[in-house]
Amino acid sequence: MELIGEVAAWFGDPTNWAGTPGIPNRMFEHVWLSGLAVLVGTAVALPLGLAIGHTGRGAFLAVTVANLGRALPSYSLLLIFFTFFGIGFATAFPALLALTIPPILTSTHIGVKEVDRDMVEAGRGMGMTEVQLLRRVELPMALPVIIAGIRTAAVQVVATATLAALVGGGGLGRFIVDGFALQRDDRLVGGAILVAALALATERLFTVLERRLISAGLRAVVATKPLSVGPFAKSGSPIAP
């Protein structure tokens, strides 16, 4: 109980809101690092996933490689990248990037693959080119699954970006790592609350994004189809933990 008061006092102390070690700057660093990782991860994995889903080639390889990536968790990757890139952002960024690619790649190619083949054939019959088919039929239809994949990646990255502090980087993990080193529970718990809040905000952001981006005609379909067991289960692919 005492701890709650200490944490509240920590949040209330104006010195914790100022300068480089302050909450706003650490939050900014965390968002910047995670956001960039998700953006670059999407830029890499989305086209690759679309290509795999559209052509049906390389799916087995993609799923297998994505699964094998789990053998080197983020902490191992940090150790490895550190020996090349040194402290801070340069090491944390590639480790987080590696975390984003499997869920986005998997969800994209599965999302595209699960699109009703009759619809694609209908589009083809209407004289659409392959690129048009991808852009106007498969992508919009697969979008709910793709966004779910990006959301999984984003929430994981926000939680894992905490580890950047272990290699001398910034971000909200600083409060947790420093609080631990100083045996200061107020800072430790305050940091954890901030990470949790940011994860919640990320989740909300994607809910809003989903509403904006998914075509109105699809929403009804999506609502009746739970993503966690729908397309993921059928194709026997890894269920994101």
Binding site: G86, I87, G168, L182, Q183, A192, P241
Partner: protein
């Protein structure tokens, strides 16, 4: 929502459970008490007068050290109060580990906190700044043993004390170099050293003991030396090295999971007492306080060695040459 729940649960459990493991009943007030440097009685006046002459060298440099540095008397607090230094910025890294070395060589920091017995200082051509105002606490190496074991078997203490009596500063650094730079297997390095210093094997020991260590290489090397010296005297020794950090090792000592551990008097004292600021620059007083603090845990500290592994502030050769730095005090001089 599942992802969010996972993240929230993870983060809160991490915080709460870590908190539960570490605090040991100490409120946040304990660490504020610790930030009062026990060594320096009054803030230095001359250095603040010097600082008014223009921006100091320190104010143009970035300091890197362990995350707890800004609130510890041996680190940023002491540098400010005792030496009157204000750095441009502080970058939280690790406790004298690979991050600090890398940040110095990579130029992300100019002044770093490393351990004085770290062979990386010599290998990378870093310059160890002299602690001319004696900021550093007495981190002499000291064996910690479970009381039960020490009482039942006086030969254990005798053996370890004989080892500590031979451990000089130069030899500690040499051992570290053999293992971390030349990549000599720990057991071979320990054996070679024990042969060299010729600790008399009295024999007469019996029973089995467990020597533990954290993942800090120096503690493991000393653990191996302890183990071999005890084996030479007839004990059966099990080794449990690489056990994370003090948060894992001390509970293991208390529960009898391990019996013996090589520690550093000042740092371990401040860990055990929750950062109460009892450690000083005097090794005798510090180890006496350590013995008292260990008492309720059923542990005892033996005799401390001459060798210490203190915190030392280092700069690269280039930085030292550029500003003509020899002592920590030199950092207070005007930059140009």
């Amino acid at each position: 929502m599942r992802n969010f729940r996972t993240a929230t649960l993870g983060a809160t459990m991490l915080a709460l459970l870590l908190g539960a493991c570490t605090s040991g009943g100490s409120g946040s007030s304990a660490s504020t008490a610790a930030s009062e440097p026990p060594a320096s009685t009054a803030p230095s006046v001359e250095s603040s007068a010097e600082a008014s002459a223009g921006p100091s060298i320190a104010s143009t440099l970035v300091l890197g050290g362990p995350p707890e540095c800004p609130e510890r008397p041996f680190c940023l607090v002491g540098l400010e109060k005792t030496y009157g230094l204000k750095f441009k910025e502080f970058t939280p890294l690790d406790a004298g580990g690979p991050l600090t070395v890398q940040a110095l060589t990579g130029g992300q920091i100019q002044v770093g906190l490393l351990f004085t017995s770290d062979p990386a200082i010599a290998v990378n051509g870093f310059v160890l700044l002299q602690d001319d105002k004696q900021l550093q606490l007495a981190d002499n190496l000291i064996p910690v043993v479970r009381k039960e074991v020490a009482v039942a078997n006086p030969l254990v203490a005798d053996t370890l004390n004989a080892v500590m009596a031979k451990l000089s500063q130069a030899e500690l650094t040499e051992l570290n170099k053999a293992v971390t730079i030349d990549l000599t297997p720990t057991a071979d390095a320990a054996k070679a050293w024990l042969t060299k210093v010729a600790i008399p094997a009295t024999g007469g020991g019996s029973g089995s003991l467990t020597v533990g260590s954290t993942n800090f290489y120096e503690q493991e090397i000393l653990g191996e030396i302890f183990a071999q010296a005890l084996e030479a005297n007839g004990f059966t020794v099990e080794r449990k090295f690489q056990l994370g950090n003090r948060e894992i090792v001390f509970p293991a000592l208390e529960s009898g999971e391990i019996d013996i551990l090589a520690e550093y008097a000042a740092t371990a004292l401040e860990f055990v007492n929750g950062g109460a600021g009892q450690a000083s620059t005097d090794p005798a007083a510090t180890s006496a306080a350590f013995v008292t603090a260990l008492e309720p845990k059923g542990l005892v500290a033996l005799e401390y060695a001459e060798a210490t592994d203190q915190n030392g502030f280092v700069v690269t050769k280039a930085t030292a040459d550029q500003y003509g730095l020899v002592t920590i005090g030199d950092l207070a001089k005007p930059a140009s």
